[in-house]
Every structure is written in structure tokens, then in C-alpha cells.
């Protein structure tokens, strides 16, 4: 049998095996959580771990109703409203994306098209938000938020989420817009349009795939964020990533409910990723390959 590009068979096998190992390592926690979400509390804690068990929807019922929880024979009241956490996530993530797009699209356009003093510095500063650890700024941010009364508000979280979403949108879109020939805009200017109208008529429609990709990607990152909500948000505005935490208390740890919450939490991100895979790959490579 012939192999593509004449790779030795052994090398191919080793490479494939490594891929499988990596794949399993990445996928294992994911599978484990999904399984746990459908296990009874006893099955979750069983040793050796069970891979075959009678599935139950109790945990989903528990977290969605937010009322009762069966622990052995005792029935405990719970006022943990996961639906509300879910909506918090939705409000904060969508809000962040809307703000980021409103600010980021013009910013990306300016950085891509106009030469001005400090252009690269501004672009780099934005990017640096992505690689500076959030822990570095979280304490000062906490103090600032306290003083300004922004902690435990949607506005506060949406604001601080700009650290995640804005750099991503600006950098992906910058690459996208740089790929659009400036001559198209010049042609439209000559056709009798102002710079502003040209942007709406030519640039934005052509950059739309990039806007979609950047928006989706930023949404997923915003949705998955944990730290900002933990420190700067109260239970009224915290996202669902923190909702799972509510099932850990001094009295007990409700593993099944945690697992079910996590499954609910990653569903939107998962559905979005699968649905928009094509866009995302393009968006990512546009942002990544361009310097």
C-alpha cells in the first residue's frame, strides 16, 4: 500500500497514536462530566468507576426546578436558581459582544486602514490584555469596582469582559479588513460616497464573515469566563460557570448537580462551535496568520 507523500508507515502509526492519546486526554474530562450528569450520586462516587449504569435525569430536574434535593432519605430545600445563572451568562456575554462590536469594528477598521502615530502601540496594548494574566489586575479592579459601585452589576461585568472580547474582535477583524482591497473603498469614494457611507456600503458587508467569526469566538470565550464573575460579581449577576460552585457547601458537595450544571453551561458554546465551525476556523486563521 502506498502512503501519501511517502511517509514511512511506522512514523504514520506513531503520529496517529499520539493524536489519539491527545484526543482522549482532552476529551476525557468532558465525557466524565457528561456521564456524571446522568448518574445517581451513589454511581458517581462508586469505585471502580462505572461506565454502565441506569441513567437518571434527577440532577437536571433538581437544578432546573431549584427546589428539592434528595440526599439519602432527607429532602433539603435549595434556593439555587440555575436558570437565573444561565440568563446572567446570556446577558453578560451578549452585552459584552454588542459593546465589543460597537467599539471594536470601528477600531479594527482604523487600525487596518489608517496610518497614525501609535497605531501599533494601541494594537499591541489591546492584544496584551489577552496574554496578561487576569489575576494580575483582578485585585485593583476589585477595589476600583467597589469604589465605583460596579461590583455585582451587569454593567460592571460587561465592562470588564471587554478585556476578553474586545482584543479578540479587534485583532481578528483587523486581519479581515486588511484583506479587503483598499481600491474597493477608493472606487466607492469616487462613486460619490463619503468615507462613512463607504464603510457601511462596501467594507462592512465584505467583512461580515469576519464579524460573525470574531463575534462567535469572543462569545464563547466570554461565556466560559469564570474569574471575573467570581471576584467582581455577586450571586445576582454571576454567570453559569459560577452556578456550579453553588452546589459545594460546608455540609455537602452535590456532584451530580454540579455535573448537570456544567453540561448545561457548555451546551450553548458547544452548539455554537459546531454550528459555526467553518466560520471559526477561518476567523481564527485570519487572526492568527496575519501579524
Amino acid at each position: 500500500m502506498k502512503h501519501a507523500k511517502g511517509e514511512p508507515l511506522l512514523l504514520k502509526i506513531v503520529l496517529d497514536a499520539l493524536l489519539v492519546v491527545m484526543f482522549l486526554a482532552i476529551l476525557f474530562p468532558f465525557i466524565w462530566i457528561v456521564l456524571a450528569a446522568f448518574k445517581t450520586e451513589a454511581d458517581i462516587l462508586a469505585w471502580p468507576p462505572k461506565f454502565r449504569f441506569p441513567p437518571t435525569l434527577d440532577h437536571f430536574r433538581n437544578i432546573l426546578s431549584g427546589k428539592t434535593y434528595e440526599l439519602g432519605k432527607a429532602s433539603l430545600q435549595s434556593n439555587i436558581d440555575i436558570v437565573r445563572f444561565f440568563f446572567n451568562s446570556l446577558i453578560v456575554s451578549c452585552g459584552s459582544i454588542i459593546v465589543s462590536l460597537l467599539v471594536g469594528v470601528p477600531a479594527a477598521y482604523a487600525i487596518a486602514r489608517f496610518k497614525f502615530r501609535g497605531r501599533e502601540n494601541i494594537a499591541f496594548t489591546l492584544l496584551s490584555f489577552r496574554f496578561a494574566p487576569a489575576l494580575m489586575v483582578i485585585i485593583p479592579l476589585y477595589i476600583i469596582f467597589r469604589k465605583m459601585g460596579l461590583n455585582n452589576t451587569y454593567i460592571g461585568l460587561i465592562w470588564v469582559y471587554q478585556l476578553i472580547t474586545l482584543p479578540m474582535i479587534v485583532w481578528i477583524l483587523r486581519g479581515y479588513i486588511e484583506d479587503i482591497s483598499p481600491e474597493l473603498e477608493e472606487a466607492c469614494l469616487i462613486d460619490g460616497y463619503s468615507q462613512w457611507r463607504t464603510f457601511w456600503r462596501i467594507t462592512l458587508p465584505l467583512a461580515r464573515p469576519g464579524v460573525v467569526a470574531a463575534g462567535l469566538l469572543a462569545f464563547i470565550y466570554a461565556w466560559n469566563n469564570f474569574l471575573f464573575g467570581l471576584i467582581l460579581g455577586g450571586s445576582a449577576v454571576q454567570p453559569i460557570t459560577l452556578g456550579a460552585l453553588q452546589f459545594i457547601s460546608t455540609a455537602y458537595v452535590r456532584y451530580g448537580d454540579i455535573a448537570a450544571t456544567i453540561v448545561l453551561a457548555f451546551l450553548p458554546a458547544l452548539i455554537l462551535s459546531i454550528y459555526s465551525q467553518r466560520h471559526l476556523v477561518r476567523g481564527l486563521s485570519f487572526g492568527a496568520v496575519k501579524a
Binding site: S181, E183, L184, E186, A187, C188, L189, I190, D191, G192, Y193, S194, R197, R201, I202, P205, L206
Partner: protein
């Protein structure tokens, strides 16, 4: 009304000048061609006229009005781009209609539709209106770009290398069409090209640009037959002009030019031309001979004898490269002539067909007043 006047226009990109001190007056309804090699500043000149680039210094008048600070929309010029710059997300119809939808136009939808159809008919692309640019051939794209420029009836057309990316057959056809359209519409046109055939066949006047400097302006036949310098002579004409370094010797009233590498190559100049060479007082000259001004002669009769280096037969005229004692000369031959490599061949050149260039400055001695 639709004149364009450049007054000492300079455009700098950082420290590099793209257009240097350009002064030029383009007349009403004129078809003006700017020709030059790539990087000469041709496109920059167009973009300055269109208002896409600001002038570094100088003044630009369009239709008698100072246009330095007018936006592209205020100039009422139309431009086509070398890349066509068709909007990929719009159909042909919407591309052509785009200028008509602009805020300054104030046309009703039915007026716009009839103008678009009129243009589409004129350019023979009525059946293409629903297509997107990616579904068009190069020639069709070019038509759409022209249509988009024409539809708003601008006072000036700026055409940037409109024919450089279409294939040879379409190019020939489009060149003729363009010529006719311009004469019909009587719209002042600035046409940029690197192709001298286009320049000479289309232009009412031709301007030769090199390194941002306008070297010569004039009617095509004048620029071709009386080039101001070596660059113009070299750039206009295919195959390229033959340039030979010669040594000057004065004898009474005449001047003898002898090939520096091969003294058998000689020309004798008399009368006024001899006088010009004497006045220039150069010990050396560079002479230029157009390939079609060299005629082949039988070896016995030919004053000059060389050896065939290579021969390319063609239907209308053959192209011969002759090694003449160290000089490689290009000669256009009759269609019926045939040559073998290494064959001895005689040829003749009339001294009247020889251009005289100063080897230092490249200036044509006879053109410098």
C-alpha cells in the same frame, strides 16, 4: 469646462517623491495618455486627480476650479482601477448603479434603472446584469468597470491600465471601442498605461513619465519620432531601439561617427546635423537606430556586414538579431525573408534615421532646441 491643470504638483511618500513638480494642462475633451514603466508615478497621478491622495505641494485645477481640498465625491471624476475594483458582493447591475445611488445624485429608482440599461446596451452586456463579478471574464469585468465610470456622466475619466489584464484579442477590440467611446462622449480622459502601442494609438497627446518626472509631452507621432531623450526613445517602440556608443571625429564640414567597439560601423553627418554635433562638443555619442529603419541588403552590396545571432520569423515581419562585431543589433525584416544562424548578412542604415544622444545626460542633441 472639463480641463485638468497641474501646477508644480509634487507628491511625496515619506522621503520618496512619487510625482515630482508636475506641470501639465489637459484640454477639454482631450484623450491624454500617460505612459511610463511601473513605478513611474502614473497611478499616483491619477489618484491625485481623483482626490484619493492629498497633494504634498502644488495646485490642481479641475474645470478651472482649485481642487486641492475637494473630496473625491465633489470632483465629479470617474476612475477605473487596474484591478477593476468591482464590488464583489454586488451584482453587475448594482455595481453600475452604485454611483447613481450616491447622495449627490438624487435620482429615482426608475431613472437609475434606465441609465443602467442604457449603459449596459452601449457596452453590450445587457445579459450580464444579474451576475456577480466573480462570474465574469476579464474582458467583461473591464466593461463593468467602464460602465460604472460612464454611468454618472462625469466630467473627467481617469483610466488606470484598463487593458493590461485582458487577453490580446479582447485588448485590441477594447482599444478600438474605447477610442470610439471617448470621441463620442467627448469626455476629457486621462489614460494610464505602460504599453506604448496603446499610448500611441489612443492618445491625442502622450505624456511620458519616469521616476515621477514628466519627460516629454506631445502628439504621439512627435513623441515617437522626436524623443527628447534616450529613455523616451527606448520606452516607445517595440522591438526596442538599438543604442550604440560611437566616437566623434570632425572633418571639415562633416562629422564622422565610428562604433567604439567596431570602427567599421560608421556614419557621416553633414550640414546642420554635423553642426549640432560640433556644438555639443562631445568626444563620444550614443546613437539610436529603430529596428525597422535598418534594411537588409545582399552581402556584396551592404556597407555593413554582420552575422545572424538568431532569427524569429513572423507573419508580418521577422525579427533578426545580428552580431555586428560586438554589437547586437535588432532588425525588423520583410515577412518573406529567411535567415540561418551564423549566416553573413549585409545591412544599410541611412544616416538620417540615426538619433544622436548625449551619453552622459541621455538628451537628444537635436531635440534640445
Amino acid at each position: 469646462m472639463s480641463t485638468v491643470v497641474f501646477e508644480s504638483v509634487t507628491k511625496m511618500y515619506g522621503q520618496t517623491p512619487a510625482v515630482k513638480d508636475l506641470s501639465l494642462e489637459i484640454k477639454e475633451a482631450e484623450f491624454f495618455v500617460i505612459v511610463g514603466p511601473s513605478g513611474a508615478g502614473k497611478t499616483t497621478t491619477l489618484k491625485l486627480t481623483a482626490g484619493l491622495l492629498p497633494l504634498t505641494s502644488g495646485k490642481l485645477y479641475i474645470g478651472g476650479r482649485l481642487a486641492n481640498s475637494l473630496s473625491p465625491a465633489q470632483r465629479n471624476v470617474a476612475m477605473t482601477f487596474e484591478s477593476y475594483a468591482l464590488y464583489p458582493h454586488m451584482t453587475v447591475q448594482d455595481n453600475i448603479a452604485n454611483p447613481l445611488h450616491s447622495p449627490g445624485m438624487n435620482l429615482s429608482e426608475s431613472q437609475i434603472a434606465s441609465r443602467v440599461h442604457e449603459i449596459a446596451e452601449m457596452l453590450g452586456m445587457g445579459q450580464l446584469l444579474e451576475r456577480y463579478p466573480r462570474e465574469l471574464s476579464g474582458g467583461q469585468k473591464q466593461r463593468v468597470a467602464l460602465g460604472r465610470a460612464m454611468v454618472r456622466r462625469p466630467s473627467i475619466f481617469l483610466l488606470d491600465e484598463p487593458l493590461s489584464h485582458v487577453d490580446a484579442k479582447v485588448r485590441q477590440h477594447m482599444r478600438i471601442e474605447l477610442n470610439r467611446l471617448q470621441k463620442e462622449l467627448k469626455t476629457t480622459t486621462i489614460y494610464v498605461t505602460h504599453d506604448y502601442v496603446e499610448a500611441l494609438s489612443l492618445g491625442d497627446r502622450v505624456g511620458v513619465l519616469n521616476h515621477g518626472e514628466l519627460i516629454q509631452v506631445g502628439p504621439p507621432e512627435e513623441v515617437y519620432s522626436r524623443p527628447l531623450n534616450e529613455f523616451v526613445a527606448k520606452h516607445l517602440g517595440q522591438p526596442e531601439i538599438n543604442l550604440i556608443d560611437v566616437i566623434v571625429t570632425s572633418r571639415n564640414g562633416t562629422v564622422l561617427l565610428q562604433g567604439a567597439k567596431n570602427p567599421k560601423l560608421q556614419f557621416v553627418l553633414e550640414g546642420k546635423r554635423a553642426q549640432v554635433v560640433k556644438e555639443a562638443n562631445c568626444p563620444n555619442l550614443r546613437i539610436g537606430i529603430r529596428p525597422h529603419k535598418i534594411t537588409c541588403a545582399p552581402v556584396e552590396a551592404g556597407a555593413l556586414i554582420g552575422e545572424v545571432y538568431v532569427f524569429e520569423p513572423a507573419v508580418i515581419s521577422g525579427q533578426l538579431m545580428v552580431d555586428f562585431g560586438g554589437y547586437m543589433l535588432t532588425v525588423l525584416t520583410k515577412a518573406s525573408d529567411r535567415f540561418r544562424i551564423g549566416q553573413k548578412v549585409g545591412f544599410e542604415v541611412s544616416p538620417n534615421d540615426v538619433y544622436l544622444f548625449d551619453p552622459q545626460t541621455g538628451k537628444n542633441l537635436e531635440a534640445a532646441r
